[in-house]
């Protein structure tokens, strides 16, 4: 492989990363925009393919996990959420570090696991339908586990006759 080819790879990866970041900002405003989802998927797919071709197997594998989730979004199996966007912005930062050979391996692993969990979700899930599980970032910037459960609550029609306030049950659950 010639150095000019590698140079071209770095330039292209930089452009795609920039494009990805802009797409994610747009997607946050219009999460249902299929064209932006398709563009995001294509950019990820290209990064995955070219990094594999140029021997950056770590980036290729990592991007594959992100691509899987966006493939599911593309096929309406997962909906775009702020968490997915934040996670992807964080993943892009990791790809930049990987390109500079300055990867935080633990963080990469955590992010990869979060994407794998997202990809394994029940179709149409994340928050609305069923148990969802995503990684969330706390104020210190560390990744912590955030699990969402779907709870079905169907009270007896005469629940009020017994003096029960269903709202207090929900408050209890929340705590």
């Amino acid at each position: 492989m010639k150095s000019e080819h590698l140079q071209m790879f770095y330039e292209e990866a930089g452009e795609l990363i920039q494009k990805l970041e802009l797409s994610l900002i747009d997607l946050e405003k219009t999460p249902d925009d299929k064209e932006i989802v398709a563009e995001t998927f294509r950019a990820l797919h290209t990064i995955k393919g070219s990094s594999g071709m140029f021997g950056f197997d770590g980036i290729s594998g990592f991007t594959h996990d992100i691509e899987n989730v966006f493939d599911k979004i593309r096929n309406n199996e997962i909906i775009v959420s702020k968490k997915i966007i934040d996670l992807t912005l964080e993943a892009i930062d990791q790809i930049k570090l990987m390109l500079n050979d300055n990867e935080d391996k633990d963080k990469t692993r955590l992010i990869s696991e979060a994407y794998k969990e997202l990809a394994d979700e029940v179709p149409g899930s994340v928050v609305q339908n069923g148990r969802g599980s995503v990684e969330d970032k706390n104020t210190t910037g560390e990744l912590k586990k955030l699990i969402t459960y779907k709870i079905e609550f169907e009270p007896n029609p005469d629940i009020f006759s017994f003096g029960t306030n269903p709202l207090s049950l929900i408050d209890e659950l929340k705590s």
Partner: protein
Amino acid sequence: MKKRIITVDDSASVRQMVSFTLREAGYEVTEAENGLQALQKLKEAPADMVITDLNMPVMDGIDLIKNIRTDSSNKFVPIIMLTTESQETRKLEGKRAGATGWIVKPFKAEQLVAVAQKVLK
């Protein structure tokens, strides 16, 4: 006379690498960024082989294969798809559309040349 290959990929770096490898192996190579550009290049001059990526904007690889197979002047040109391990369904779609074969990314320069030599012998 040199055999002419059209390489179609939206990734400029992959396109450049494929072109370089094939030119080094003695082929004439024309580059296209997407399926539509490849069809235009085919109209300008016939090719002996087309090597195409699948996921591309404007016109993807599957539509390119379908278009080539319905075009009487280029109907029989060999088409090799560049796929990834995760694209099994797309690979099958491409085969159904009329692709001659495929190479799984990432591949080595020697693999690419070996496929070109086999198809164009």
